[in-house]
Symmetry: C2
Subunit: 79 residues, 2 copies
């Protein structure tokens, strides 16, 4: 069954306290090579039949993300 991946990340100008907390913890543990962390959501959708790209784009942009504060990356399966 084709799988569609949707990654939802906060827009760069939106503050990300979860990412900041992870970054602080990594620094305290000595992982100083990491200088920034942003945390988002990762959805894996099972799709029946041929994926309908327009419908999936609408799902990703309006139902899985808040377009006011979040950006979306839609990864369709290779044709």
């Amino acid at each position: 069954m084709p799988q569609v991946v949707v990654d939802v990340v906060l827009k760069p100008e939106i503050s990300d306290p979860q990412g900041q907390a992870v970054l602080g913890a990594l620094g305290r543990l000595g992982h100083t090579q990491v200088t920034g962390v942003r945390q988002g959501k990762h959805f894996v959708l099972d799709v029946e039949g041929t994926p309908d790209e327009a419908a999936l784009k609408e799902i990703a942009e309006t139902l899985l993300a808040n377009p006011v504060i979040e950006d979306v990356e839609l990864h369709l399966p290779e044709a």
Copy 2:
């Protein structure tokens, strides 16, 4: 600056109530082509200098994920 992406997903045998809730909502909205949803976390790390693959693997597998219930995908930047 190189960016490393870490996707954390629940192992297939672990129940995912968030994914189930999204799947139910999609069905009620008529998006019946989607037959399964799993929700995970998506981290974007900024890394200074050449990424140290071993250290990043350790960060991903032991600090960003709970290896008892979650699987990790580490995406290093193209060399």
